[in-house]
Symmetry: C2
Subunit: 382 residues, 2 copies
């Protein structure tokens, strides 16, 4: 299988299975101490082999970001699926069809008008849609105000009919990606936990069952030290990790399991540039939050064999199929020994985005040999 | 087919065939006046139906950015292919195999050591590789110094053996994307033309044939007014156009043929935000060059039916499957009538990048009806 690695075309997406397993075990063990199970998010990997490793020893449920993912993972044997993006009327027939086939699909929403729409569609489609109410714990995206009157109104609409039932509450502190320190992330994790747990208490006091209290993002899940009242944690990128997670202090650079294998295609020696065949088509255009303190460009350059960083080299610019490598500090890099044809690995800024540019993973074992090719699901439709 | 448009899942990639044809005709007609043929770049569309329209009435050759594209388009009937990214030793067997099957494949390189490597491989593989020497006309990426001694040295290595032959010179003024005015682009186009044409003269004076003199980028090709000494122009994004091209003054917003159909999934009404199901997975993370004068965020919001901009709404933030729409000027947007389930179109910042996130195009006619689904090729390997 060493021959397989040597013969791998570039650019290719590499997944180090040792680091993958270590990352999965680290969060599993942390959440076990906090006595809360994990519902891994499949959007990062979109890969059944990865997700099977992530749900091992967990209750077995997953989080999906599209109905296409929900449908695909259901067909691959996973029945408990939380579709964690606000539901729209056009998708309810497909959601009902999944439920009719035995999928324990849960929907989310965050407004009384959507609650009414789901309830009415459930009656029309002869299904009782399980619904989690989405809470806004960080001001960044969707969600009802925690502990608000509108939250109780939604619970009432969802509960007062035969087309829907209240399954619980959910929130996602995505603002954790913009935090400046682990202390800040931990404070946001406490806010995320309180938004969900307190809202569940409020709903129960108002007479509604609220079995599920779901929170999570990789940064908050990793550093949280209190999950009181929370029944499940969602996270996805922790399996792979990336340079954003490393910058946040949530992992080390050496924990990054994902990389892009690339080949040197040329130089501009007077400028200290190396040109490679990994552009944004292979790396993505994601540079992470603007708040990132260390400039990592479009990725950190490592040797191909061990994935160890090469000096201070980063990808400073990308076109569609070209990457330009130079020294992070702008100093002239000694690139004399990195000839055309040399292969390098690039660590990703944002693992979800980099993986999203590829159709499969070439999976490496501890010896750096390719031990498998794992497919990613593609597209949005159920 | 109106029913097909109404039933289209979101996010989906839409291609307006009327605007596509108009864009293709505009550049064709401009270059006809300059008496130079077009070798369209396939990397933007990666689609045989689009490329067939682009080569109609042209000599029929294309430009590819990967050997995978070259191989795929050769299998779809196109024989004259310029692979316009620096060649590496690992790809020469696949390149030789394509040539052996009848593909008129041309390679590019920009260093004496690479020239020697190609020449030797050609002898070993019993093929004469046609080679264009890449010139650096804008200081942004790859390429030999125009009119330099190294250029002549490369020509000599390529010509002095039976494994390779000099096919010509090539340059790409990608810096045109960073220009501040049409005047600046035109000056860069003149520089691009001169770098290529003068280098060809130098090589011919040194006794080398230099049949092909290839230049191009959509901005420079569109505004150039002198193509003396140039034998072909390369461009790709002109077929679709995008908000970067519009900002550069190279097209109008109304010329953009590509868009992403999306559905409203929620609101933050106090903030004037609309949430949609098009995140970076559907739009890409590309925001265009930092020099863009007008803030278009991750795309301009249009109505679904006609693709006409809706007020000053743009996509201000993206997560994987969420887009946040708000007013460009930060003013509170009146979003009262844009309910959950409403569909919108998003015009792309960078058409190559947005199209790169999708597997196919839903093609619209003048009436906004879907008249076809066109597939994109995927992956890098030949």
């Amino acid at each position: 299988m060493r021959a397989a690695f040597a013969a791998l075309g570039t650019p290719s997406l590499l997944l180090d299975s040792v680091r993958l397993d270590r990352n999965i075990e680290r969060l599993r063990s942390h959440l076990e101490c906090l006595r809360v199970p994990l519902r891994p998010h499949v959007k990062t990997s979109k890969c059944i082999e990865v997700v099977r490793r992530a749900i091992a020893g967990q209750p077995g449920g997953i989080t999906a970001s599209t109905l296409g993912e929900a449908s695909w993972f259901f067909e691959h044997g996973i029945a408990d699926i939380l579709y964690a993006v606000g539901i729209v009327p056009q998708r309810l027939p497909a959601a009902a069809a999944l439920i009719a086939r035995g999928c324990r699909l849960k929907l989310i929403l965050d407004a009384p008008e959507t609650a009414r729409m789901v309830a009415e569609a459930g009656i029309r489609l002869s299904v009782r849609f399980p619904v989690l109410l989405e809470l806004d714990s960080d001001g960044q995206r969707a969600g009802l105000e925690p502990r608000s009157a509108a939250l109780v109104e939604c619970a009432r609409i969802i509960s007062d009919n035969t087309g829907s039932e209240l399954a619980g509450v959910l929130t996602h502190a995505g603002a954790s990606y913009d935090c400046g320190s682990v202390g800040e992330i931990r404070a946001l994790a406490a806010k995320e936990q309180a938004a969900a747990a307190d809202s569940a208490v409020l709903l129960r006091e108002a007479g509604f069952p609220c079995p599920v209290v779901s929170v999570g993002s990789t940064p908050t899940a990793t550093v949280a030290n209190d999950m009181s009242g929370v029944t499940e944690v969602r996270a996805g990128v922790y399996m792979f990790n990336d340079l954003v997670m490393a910058a946040l202090g949530v992992c080390a650079v050496d924990d990054i399991a994902l990389s892009v294998l690339t080949t040197v295609i040329g130089h501009q020696r007077r400028k200290g540039w190396i040109l490679v065949d990994a552009g944004w088509m292979a790396l993505s255009r994601d540079r992470g939050p603007a708040s990132l303190s260390l400039n990592q460009g479009y990725g950190v350059v490592c040797d191909a064999k061990n994935g160890t960083p090469v000096g201070e080299l980063i990808v400073v610019a990308v076109n569609q199929e070209h990457g330009v490598i130079a020294s992070r500090d702008g100093q002239f890099a000694d690139i004399g020994s990195i000839e055309v044809g040399t292969r390098l690995r690039i660590l990703p800024i944002h693992a979800c985005a980099t993986a999203g540019m590829h159709d499969s993973y070439s999976v490496l074992n501890a010896e750096g040999e390719i031990v498998g090719t794992w497919t990613r699901m593609r597209g949005w439709q159920a």
